[in-house]
């Protein structure tokens, strides 16, 4: 057992300050363990979200030494403990209290994305046939645990606050999972261009770097969707076809 210092943001609705807490740390601990110990022993009212503590639910997102991470999956032995470990709430969402932010915007964005719309079943028993290869592509996106760390680091949201014009990487991944699902028949390409604001993404790949599920957000989801938008709206040949009523998706 040794002692380490955790510099935790305390306060409400954006106002607040860092407060230092020293606590015992032991082998194998993660940041969330230290936060829990501080909460149980020194600060019962320290506000923090968490659930599964196993990297599966995406509740305990925070910025640890400035890096957006899940607290439950950040081992203390990956951090320099000779200096205080800073823990702050995410910055792209309104602050509530201590480490908790108001992420409700994400839930309202999702509602506006056209839902899964399958083609008629392939078999009389109401089931479909799908190759594992096609499932693989969609399953990568469906690994998302909705931790919203990708939203937190996206410049369009974090620095430019364009929450009204841009759905953010999480919901481009969500749209990709629907668009690339071989059973789905809805068309989200016009919405991607207009309401979802895909053009605002300038492919800096910050989202991909912070994804705890290692989803290749930019290369596998966003760029192929951008290509669909370009093919539909900006490709001169397709445009010509569309004029004569032979357009394709």
């Amino acid at each position: 057992m040794s002692t380490a210092t955790f510099r935790i943001w305390r306060g409400e609705k954006g106002a607040g300050k860092f407060q230092d807490y020293s606590t015992e740390v032991s082998s194998g601990m993660v940041v969330l363990d230290a936060v829990h110990r501080i909460q149980a022993e020194q600060a019962n009212n320290l506000a923090v979200r968490w659930n599964c503590k196993a990297g599966k639910c995406g509740s305990c997102s925070a910025e640890i030494n400035g890096m957006p991470k899940l607290m439950c999956m950040t081992r203390l032995n990956s951090l320099p403990l000779e200096q205080p470990v800073t823990i702050e709430p995410m910055k792209a969402f309104p602050h509530v209290r201590d480490l908790v932010t108001d992420v409700s915007w994400n839930y309202s964005v999702k509602k506006n994305i056209a839902k899964f719309t399958p083609r008629p079943p392939d078999a009389p028993d109401g089931t479909w046939r799908m190759a594992q290869k096609d499932a693989d592509r969609v399953q990568e996106f469906r690994k998302c645990i909705e931790c919203f760390l990708c939203q937190d680091v996206c410049h369009v949201l974090r620095e430019h606050h364009m929450h009204e014009q841009f759905v953010g990487p999480r919901f481009l991944v969500y749209a990709a999972a629907l668009e690339m699902n071989p059973l789905d028949q809805a068309d989200r390409v016009p919405a991607l261009r207009q309401q979802y604001g895909i053009g605002l993404c300038n492919i800096t790949k910050c989202c991909t770097k912070v994804c705890p599920e290692n989803i290749t957000i930019t290369d596998n989801a966003i760029i192929p969707l951008k290509e669909r938008v370009v093919d539909r709206f900006f490709d001169p040949l397709t445009k010509l076809f569309r004029v004569f009523g032979a357009g394709s998706r």
Partner: protein, 603 residues
């Protein structure tokens, strides 16, 4: 009385895991107004932790499977204490519920001919679990969540219910608070569905998150509903044990389904040493046959690692107790060994068990494709819960329904892996359907302001106290005690001691104070939840004392054998007129001949 906001709906669903979301979908589709109360954010419930799959006799991988086999497996696993009617409905309706999930957007792993793939699991005769790698629960909850948000229901995220409200004998609504502001809310509803999950937080070592404090169990109890089977708490055999901070995190049974084996420190596959008579015909004699089973050989029988969870957990405990455990007090679970059997084993393991691979790599510095894992039992699930009508899921309080883990009946003395997710779907759907029906036939009940005032006073009490001790200290002490005295192996002397300790903890809890104000204050929330934990701990202990035999997940050192006297009854709990906890034995209804016949045929 302080202020509160009033909401009105036809059906109120308390809980937003698999059962709650499925119930809400069904009620909304029936055309009634629906509210869902979620203790955490939407999509974070314990359902996301389910890894292995959804049990349903689709017969995609082995065409010998059918609802009859699934029914017999479930009853055998539950040691025949199950509600046979629920087991029948579950086995018959699970396949349609899985297909429905696919129609709502779930993307399951596929067979070579493009259908939903199924895998082997403990206690299931044939490969039966529809799955997505080892993250099936996430797929399920996300599919339900994304489906529900388009159905026009009101979702209240980060709200907690502290009391159910009644009008005479029937349900009238619920009273609770929102975490962010700490404001009180009154939910008037014609029907209420409890879907609050389990009680894992009553124990120190658990796979459950902070939410699982037995809220639905305690709410139903105080509202006058009966509960049953509370002595049956499932200790999942394989939780992580090292490093200490990850102790209890689940290691999916899917590891064993894919060929993983359990060994003690001498390298012995100790599961071969003790095979229960009821399973002897279905269990392989040799390591070779066990391996062939995991690789889909239809003529091979399952390896003993895939015996039921209660049995595997006790075998692990035996090895550790008798000094044959691993360095940190567990046993070894080895999947890496399959490299001797198949090419590209490392890639295969990463593909089939991706989150296990990451979990061990990140949290324990262990590469499971190279080394064995250290595992030991962890509190995972409670078979007991609110006693319900098998068809409608209504409790004995009119208008109050329960589905999923907080309901009882389907699993009997022990739940089979994979039967939980299918339980959520089948009985979530039924609860939603019948609650909507009840709501259509009944008007809103009258709210009695004294009940509301009492609930509010109770909720605010922790702020009035200046006790030196906070709620966390009491909670931790309770968890240590339950782990020690009412754990995997029980005896009367220890459980009587546990009852005394629970009384002490009640006193301590009634004095524990909290600081700060009502806005997003986890100390306050913990103080409120602690009351529920104490209620369910007492239920588990009293029911376990009453069942003087060993059966399924309930094992008594002082009564180590099964006793037929207890094989035909459930232990039922109810709040007595003086507020005392009443325990009684109730005979299980006679099973119809056709179902008895199925069980005979499948022996």
């Amino acid at each position: 009385m302080a202020e509160h906001v009033t909401h009105e709906h036809d059906v109120l669903v308390i809980g937003a895991g698999g059962a709650g979301l499925r119930a809400a979908a069904e009620a909304a589709a029936a055309g009634v107004s629906v509210a869902v109360i979620s203790k955490s954010l939407l999509g974070k419930a314990h359902t996301v932790m389910a890894e292995g799959g959804i049990a349903a006799a689709l017969a995609n991988v082995d065409d010998r499977d059918s609802w009859r086999v699934h029914f017999a497996d479930t009853m055998r696993g539950g040691q025949y204490l199950n509600s046979w009617r629920m087991a029948e409905l579950h086995a018959k309706e699970a396949p349609a519920c899985v297909r429905e999930l696919e129609a709502w957007g779930a993307v399951f792993d596929r067979t070579a001919d493009g259908r939903i793939l199924q895998r082997n699991f403990g206690g299931h005769r044939y490969p039966r679990l529809a799955h997505v790698g080892d993250r099936t629960g996430l797929e399920m909850i996300r599919t339900l969540q994304d489906h529900d948000i388009h159905l026009g229901m009101d979702v209240f995220m980060e709200y907690t219910v502290v009391a159910l409200l009644k009008d005479g004998g029937r349900i009238a609504g619920a009273f609770g608070y929102d975490r962010e502001r700490g404001r009180f809310h009154l939910f008037r509803a014609k029907a209420v569905i409890l879907a609050t999950g389990g009680i894992g937080r009553a124990y120190k070592i658990t796979s459950n998150s902070w939410e699982y404090t037995g809220d639905g169990h305690a709410l139903a109890y105080h509202a006058g509903a009966s509960l049953m089977d509370m002595e049956f708490v499932q200790f999942h055999p394989t939780g992580m044990i090292w490093p200490p901070s990850v102790r209890g995190i689940l290691v999916t049974e899917g590891v064993r389904g894919e060929g993983g084996v359990l060994r003690n420190k001498d390298g012995r596959r100790f599961m071969f040493d003790d095979i229960p008579a009821a399973y002897a015909n279905q269990t392989s004699d040799t390591e070779e046959e066990g391996w062939r089973y995991t690789q889909g050989d239809k003529n091979a029988r399952r390896p003993p690692e895939l015996l039921t969870r209660d049995h595997v957990a006790r075998c692990i405990r035996r090895e550790v107790r008798e000094g044959r455990g691993s360095p940190h007090g567990g046993v070894f679970l080895d999947i890496a060994w399959i490299k001797n059997r198949i090419p590209n084993a490392a890639e295969h393991i990463k593909k089939k068990l991706p989150s296990m691979y990451h979990q061990f790599k990140q949290l324990a510095d262990i590469d499971i494709t190279v080394e064995a894992m250290e595992v030991g039992p962890t509190t995972h699930y409670v078979m007991g819960g609110v006693r319900v009508d098998p068809d409608s899921q209504m409790s004995d309080v009119p208008g109050l329904f329960a589905a999923g883990e907080c309901g009882a009946g389907l699993h009997g003395a022990n739940r089979l892996g994979g039967n939980s997710l299918s339980d959520l779907l089948v009985f979530g759907k039924r609860a939603g359907q019948y609650a909507a029906g009840y709501a259509r036939e009944n008007s809103l009940g009258v709210i009695h302001s004294d009940e509301v005032a009492a609930a509010e006073k109770h909720a605010l009490a922790p702020f009035e106290r200046d006790g030196a001790e906070g709620p966390y200290a009491v909670q931790h002490a309770l968890q240590d005690m339950m782990q020690d005295l009412v754990g995997i192996v029980r005896q009367e002397k220890e459980m009587l001691q546990a009852l005394e300790r629970i009384q002490e903890f009640k006193l301590r809890a009634s004095r524990a104070g909290v600081s700060g104000h009502r806005e997003y204050n986890p100390g306050w929330h913990t103080a409120i939840d602690l009351n529920n934990l104490l209620t369910v701990s007492e239920m588990v202990t009293r029911a376990a004392l009453e069942r003087k035999e060993s059966r399924g997940a309930h094992f008594r050192d002082d009564f180590p054998a099964k006793d037929d006297k207890f094989g035909s009854c459930n232990i039922v709990i109810r709040k007595g007129p003086g507020g005392e906890m009443q325990i009684r034995r109730e005979p299980i209804p006679e099973m119809p001949v056709e179902l008895k016949q199925i069980i005979q045929e499948m022996k």
